[in-house]
């Protein structure tokens, strides 16, 4: 597990043994391979980059080369126990559509994202130094998401948070999570 992706450990713990999993934007298959090994999961993935798809297949994974936003429509309702979207939400053009589709094809969805409400992100935004740059991945993103915005989105889509892990996970930070959370991991189901 790469140190820059602390959410992956959390996601692995959230997925039931033997679950049918779909990982959207699965990259080189690190998470899926981890799930296959640790949890005996039957994992599938969707990834847009050819070299990464090939890396997945070389790990013995089943991956479809393509765009997340187009690709979900082909999966039947409830085909998966869990659909994962790890740190990809901020880069999607149609995030609501994707979340709605995740809830359709999966019995639950795990979504992780970088919290744009973190105090350092706010300071960056105020100073104008790299406000569009997330804290962890450093990639340019389409939008910034805060915990509050995510909660509103869940309510709008009639999704319910079953489980939530806030990283880095200091106990005292729970008093004011929106300022102290770098990465949030949610497991949601249809309300």
């Amino acid at each position: 597990m790469t140190p820059s992706r602390p959410d992956l450990d959390v996601i692995v713990r959230m997925v039931a043994k033997g679950a049918r999993v779909l990982d959207l934007g699965c990259g080189d298959g690190t998470l899926l391979a981890e799930l296959n090994g640790a949890n005996g999961v039957q994992g599938r993935g969707v990834e847009v980059d050819e070299a990464k798809v090939r890396a997945c297949l070389s790990k013995g994974l089943s991956v479809r080369h393509g765009n997340i936003e187009d690709g979900l429509a082909d999966f039947p309702d409830g085909m998966f126990d869990v659909v994962i979207l790890s740190q990809t939400l901020a880069y999607l053009n149609r995030p609501l559509q994707v979340m709605r589709e995740m809830a359709r094809v999966g019995r639950s969805a795990i979504i992780s994202f970088e919290n744009a409400g973190h105090w350092r992100a706010r300071r960056q935004a105020v100073r104008g130094d790299g406000s569009g740059t997330p804290l962890v991945s450093g990639l340019p993103r389409v939008r910034a998401i805060t915990l509050e915005q995510f909660h509103e989105t869940l309510a709008q889509l009639k999704l319910r948070a079953e489980e939530r892990v806030l990283l880095p996970g200091w106990r005292w930070a729970e008093a004011w999570p929106t300022l102290w959370t770098e990465v949030a991991v949610y497991r949601v189901t249809q309300a």
Binding site: R13, A16, R54, L57, S58, S62, D74, D81, V165, E174
Partner: protein, 415 residues
């Protein structure tokens, strides 16, 4: 690797999709490697329009030209003949040892010519199934092929879902497009226009080589891409410094087409070309179904589908259509669009990336066959997040749900 083409003849009649029958049926085939004790390591390779059973190796030590997919098939290669028992047979309708229009019709004692029945991809697969039965193979580890070979691989998974554990489909489609039909019809017209064709009755006489050569030239154009032609030939002249302002073979690209067109006439039968292009045109797995997904409902095989970015004969969109239809049925289908400038020919030329993908895919199949995946557990047994990190929401929600269930249970008791 020295290999010999074998032949097997079935005396029973093959009932074709058209309603016609074909009898007897001879298949030319080659095998490589050894069938293992539990007969579980057999891979069937299906060839494309102009291929034959000679997929790899040499026919003799002096044979200069190896089989058509020698880069991918052999000891230590992607389709590793040290591990797998590889089979390749010439399609019916062909002209390389299997029954086709140039074969002798036993009822007349003369070559079939145009009295040969039109065969479909399903008919080709049915004949291959007879061969697989004769070889004593209960189920194939994989069926693979590019172009029309890919069509056969998909057809196998549809026709015999219990006998195919996987399909590797390259540069192919589940239904031939209007463009491909058009690109088959023009070469056919070139053959019809050759007076030597004589409505297919030319055996023992001068064959329609001029027409067949033009047909092949058109084929070669469709196998390349604009980029690969630019790279391969550009505007370079062949054996001359300046334009002759005459109707001669001047450009390298003309010379290439002429060479390949002529060479093709020494190894291929014009009638077989007509029949096999017709086979491709008729291929539409969705025929008789509301949509392609429903046509693929029986499929149990795992799929690896590859397309090539510059292939305009079977463009990536057509492979994606197949993959979408497979996924709708919950089939385990992997898909990669390989970036390549080689056009349709890429499935024969981009062997490195294909080899790696096929090798890993086959290795996964073997692992999964050895150790079947455990069934999914019931919902609600998921491991919860580590207590250090869990925000109270989750445990609170769980408690609330528990309380509600308790209330509901009590209500039922009292009711």
């Amino acid at each position: 690797m020295i290999v010999h083409t074998q032949q097997i003849t079935f005396e029973q009649a093959l009932r074709l999709q058209s309603g016609a029958t074909l009898r007897p049926v001879t298949l030319a085939y080659e095998t490589y490697g050894t069938l293992n004790a539990d007969r579980s390591n057999a891979i069937l390779i299906c060839h494309a329009l102009s291929g034959d059973a000679h997929v790899a190796g040499q026919h003799s030590e002096h044979d200069r030209k190896p089989g058509w997919w020698d880069e991918a098939v052999g000891p230590g290669k992607a389709f590793d003949t040290d591990r797998y028992f590889v089979i390749c047979s010439n399609v019916i309708g062909g002209c390389s040892g299997s029954t086709g229009p140039s074969s002798v019709d036993p009822t007349t004692g003369r070559p079939y010519g145009l009295t040969f029945p039109v065969v479909t991809v399903a008919d080709m697969v049915e004949a291959q199934r007879w061969l697989i039965d004769a070889l004593g193979i209960p189920s194939l580890l994989s069926v693979t092929g590019g172009s029309m070979g890919g069509m056969q691989a998909i057809q196998w998974a549809v026709s015999y879902p219990d006998r195919v554990r996987s399909a590797i489909v390259l540069a192919s489609t589940a239904r031939t497009s209007a463009q491909t039909i058009a690109l088959n019809e023009v070469p056919r017209q070139a053959i019809y226009a050759d007076p030597n064709w004589n409505r297919g009755d030319y055996y023992g006489k001068e064959p329609p080589n001029a027409g067949l050569a033009v047909a092949r030239m058109i084929g070669h154009i469709t196998y390349l891409s604009e980029a690969s032609m630019r790279e391969k030939f550009g505007r370079r002249l062949q054996d001359r410094e300046r334009y002759g302002y005459e109707f001669a073979t001047e450009f390298e690209v003309e010379s290439y087409l002429k060479y390949h067109g002529n060479r093709f006439t020494t190894r291929f039968d014009a009638n077989s070309f007509l029949y096999i292009t017709k086979t491709i045109d008729y291929f539409d797995l969705s025929l008789g179904y509301p949509d392609l997904a429903q046509a693929l409902a029986a499929v149990r095989a795992k799929f690896l589908v590859l397309s090539y970015s510059s292939d305009w004969l079977y463009p990536p969109e057509q492979a994606e259509e197949l993959v979408r239809a497979l996924l709708r049925n919950g089939v385990d289908a992997s898909y990669v669009e390989i970036k390549s400038d080689y056009g349709h020919d890429a499935f024969l030329l981009e062997v490195d990336r294909l080899g790696e993908l096929a090798r890993d895919f086959l290795a996964r199949l073997e692992r999964e066959t050895a150790r079947p995946a455990s069934p999914p557990e019931a919902p609600g047994t998921s491991m919860r997040g580590n207590g250090e990190n869990v925000y109270p929401l989750a445990s609170w929600a769980a408690k609330a749900r528990g309380a509600l269930r308790l209330v509901a249970a009590r209500r039922q008791e009292t009711a």
